[in-house]
Symmetry: C2
Subunit: 236 residues, 2 copies
């Protein structure tokens, strides 16, 4: 059975609706999204596999989810390091950064050096609003994510992938296949090209909204904020 | 070993500091507080003991924590009902209420009737800023909480208890002993009078802040947002 997905335009509309008629604040949504990501990392890469996690954050909401995830990971006992080269001036992101600074979580400028000193990477660079080309300084980061043998968990989309069509046909990102992907609220069409471990997170979407946008809310277990959902051809 | 507690004034100062120098928004703190409460309810009263949960919400932040907890409980599979007689006009509480209404969670006016149709009660009426007397319409609610044989989980304080001195010496609330108590961030002095199951929640306090306010951050396990901490004379 094919997995139902939400295209880029529909995902943007859903996001807007969550923050307007559904009355969620961006603070709230980002806290819950980042919490989901942290739980997926805990599942894919438990503390016993190494505590060091490098979180690569892009300039927008995907980066914000990464900042929140990093904070939760700290409290689980991980040692996060943040690469956040294009810091947003938005007040929310500044606050999320401050919360990490208060935990003495280091922010680093040199991704190449940082990747040599971590056990796991969180790719929170680009999300469902990405299209077009990868801007500086991220091409070298995507290249490193593509080349590394370390496990990578991507937030909502493997960065550089087209939301609808998946990986670029050639060049940068064309052979980037993260270890895990956390689809927030609903999987995007790119999951049809994904062959790693796939999780859905964001346990706050009402049944009515899921119906309106025609996606399935998976069966979460217990108090989990994520659920592993196989992609095409996979069995759990 | 005595448990370290945070007096009413110190708790208010901590709350202010979290939202100023620590850069948390009330939205964020309330989301995490409510999440903690929902996890404690799941622990004390798993779904197998009955899905119906009546959440009694007061007019302030304690009530807001209850609204958030109710939403998470809905997603875990509970059937929450909300008693929220003094709705705040504050925009945040209105949004939290809307999020529940979108899930078709009922808001009821008659607590006495509602208590006859539930399996568990969450007391989110008064928190650490409570002092003085219980105002209308809450005296009858406190009386019902005191009289019921149903399990009750209180948020931060058993409502009507003095934050420092515990239960009133006589009259309303003097024999109210909830089944469980979720202390948010740090236990208040009233825990020295509490004999039920005690949890600490709010896994976002930095080690520096805990040191400054002289309380212990308990050892949370895994991804849990709560941890059970024995009170005086208890062993786990």
């Amino acid at each position: 059975m094919a997995i139902k997905t939400l295209g880029a335009k529909a995902a943007a509309a859903l996001d807007q609706e969550l923050m307007s008629t559904c009355a969620f604040s961006l603070d709230q949504l980002m806290e819950l999204a980042g919490l989901s990501v942290s739980q997926a990392v805990y599942r894919v890469h438990p503390l016993s596999k190494g505590r060091r996690v490098l979180v690569a954050c892009g300039p927008g909401n995907n980066g914000g989810d990464g900042l929140v995830a990093a904070r939760h990971l700290f409290f689980y006992g991980y040692q996060p390091t943040i690469y956040y080269p294009k810091r947003s001036k938005n007040e929310l992101y500044q606050r999320l950064s401050k919360q990490l600074e208060d935990l003495n979580v280091p922010f680093v400028d040199d991704f190449q050096s940082a990747i040599g000193q971590t056990d796991h990477i969180v790719d929170a660079i680009f999300g469902f609003s990405f299209s077009g080309e990868v801007r500086e300084p991220f091409p070298a980061v995507i290249q490193a994510l593509q080349d590394t043998k370390l496990p990578v968990t991507s937030v909502d989309a493997p960065s550089s992938w087209d939301i609808e069509k998946g990986p670029p046909a050639s060049g940068l990102g064309s052979s980037f296949m993260p270890t895990a992907l956390v689809s927030l609220s609903a999987p995007k069409p790119l999951v049809n090209h994904f062959t790693g471990r796939h999780f859905v997170g964001g346990r706050f979407v009402s049944p009515l909204i899921a119906k309106k946008y025609d996606f399935d809310v998976p069966e979460y277990q217990g108090i989990d904020q994520i659920v592993e959902v196989p992609v095409a051809g996979q069995k759990l």
